[in-house]
Symmetry: C2
Subunit: 247 residues, 2 copies
DNA sequence: GTTTCCACTTGATCTCTATCAAGGTTTATT
DNA sequence: AATAAACCTTGATAGAGATCAAGTGGAAAC
């Protein structure tokens, strides 16, 4: 079965969304139906988009920036449970409320669809339901991969795993699958990284310094990262070299 | 929208599956179509049902016993990424292979459907696709809830969280939502619990002893557990008392 | 130009959990 | 009844990461 939506980071001319996600522009048949319910929203870094328990009256895709899903315990401990990069889908068709906080980790633009009409369209067009199921399965795979990181990896491996995810995601967007050094800007503070990895920000800082000292990464300033050897980084992450991350 | 399948632990006369899962007997319209492709399979405790990467040519529901999903690193570290209790759905419609090992943790009976015809039926009957999306979202919620456990909870809280999940699940099956002590048999070895919680089996044993010493649980033998006060257990787990676990 | 603030780094120490090791129970096997 | 094989418990010790604390650097605000 060939997917009705183009996927995997191909852009179309008039839409900024990379098409791992559902997008109106990708399917001429749906375009008119969606045009009316589509809108863009911008958020500032640090802004909370939704609190856990809030009514969620839209679904959408990240256009630019990074959003994060966070769970919080009563005493304030927090764990990031999802990182939404450009092209990722946000939303829970058929669900009333958000089960975790959704935050803009950086300045963020989202392409939103009002939920009701989106769901109606989903019910009428089976391939969209099918596509959503596939995306949800992707997210489930990514969440489970992350459970291994959280449960069994050392601090150093955790950092390497996170850098590896961001590097791979970034590389696949900027220049299609070539070798050579990978360069990118870290979009997360040390604290956000710690929240994602189940560490403290001090440990994150120490391990980044260690990876730098050992030549696994190069840093200019605090955010600009160069990965001279991706294979080496993935060894440090404890992954089989071919890698199975899906985020 | 009312679900076409009965859900939430109601049994019908001729089917052993509790209906959080897709099941032929729950929808007369689909019954005949499914009859031909449905079959039961039994597994012994410890048996591996699927290795990571194997072709997955069926989907199905757990009828009795417990199955687990496990990820393994090259050096042997393992993390359980899912626990499948009776009524849980196993399978990845539209996917070729399993991304993790599937094992029978106890003796296990599954109700299986051959994948191809199941997928065809899914494509023809939108409400089954819809139901599968909802179930996958449930699993995603559970996985993300578990990320908080793995990333931020102490060993004691982790044990309490696991007991809490099993107790709640068990209680909702055996006697509909009443108060009073909850009694059940632990279906997992200390080692399996450790693999699920990102701990060692020694730490699991020590924390269970501690919970017993502190009167949070009572143990007869090594597996028979009594929870005198479920609220107390949930406090120990660090949950807001109303609890959000979805497993 | 100075001050303030925020993100980050580094050091010292402590604590929780892993690790190593030994022994105990229960259940199955001979 | 004796033996073996899982499974579990408990103790001693070590180590990874948390916690507490001080200080650096850079950018924005005054």
């Amino acid at each position: 079965m060939t997917p009705m939506f183009k996927i995997d980071h191909t852009n179309c001319a008039d839409c900024p969304i990379r098409h791992r996600a559902v997008c109106a522009h990708c399917d001429a048949n749906e375009l008119e139906k969606l045009e009316g319910i589509k809108y863009y929203r911008s958020f500032e870094a640090g802004q909370t988009i939704l609190w856990s328990g809030d009514q969620m009256n839209f679904v959408g895709s990240v256009v630019s920036g990074i959003a994060s899903l966070t769970q919080t315990m009563e005493d304030g401990r927090t764990q990031m449970v999802g990182l939404l990069l450009p092209s990722d889908f946000v939303g829970r068709p058929g669900r009333e409320s958000a089960p975790y906080d959704v935050q803009a980790t950086t300045d963020l633009v989202m392409c939103c669809f009002r939920k009701k009409p989106f769901e109606e369209m989903m019910n009428e067009t089976p391939h969209i339901a099918h596509r959503l199921l596939q995306m949800t399965l992707d997210e489930l795979d990514a969440a489970r991969e992350w459970m291994l990181v959280l449960g069994r990896k050392t601090a150093r491996e955790k950092i390497a795993s996170l850098l590896s995810i961001i590097a791979r995601r970034d590389a696949s967007i900027s220049h299609e699958g070539n070798a050579g050094p990978i360069v990118f800007d870290l979009p997360l503070t040390r604290e956000a990284m710690a929240d994602y990895l189940g560490l403290t920000l001090e440990t994150v800082s120490r391990q980044i310094s260690a990876l730098k000292r050992d030549g696994v990464i190069t840093l200019e300033g605090k955010r600009h990262v160069t990965i001279p050897d991706m294979g080496r980084l993935m060894e440090e992450a404890g992954d089989d070299s071919d890698g199975g991350f899906l985020v």
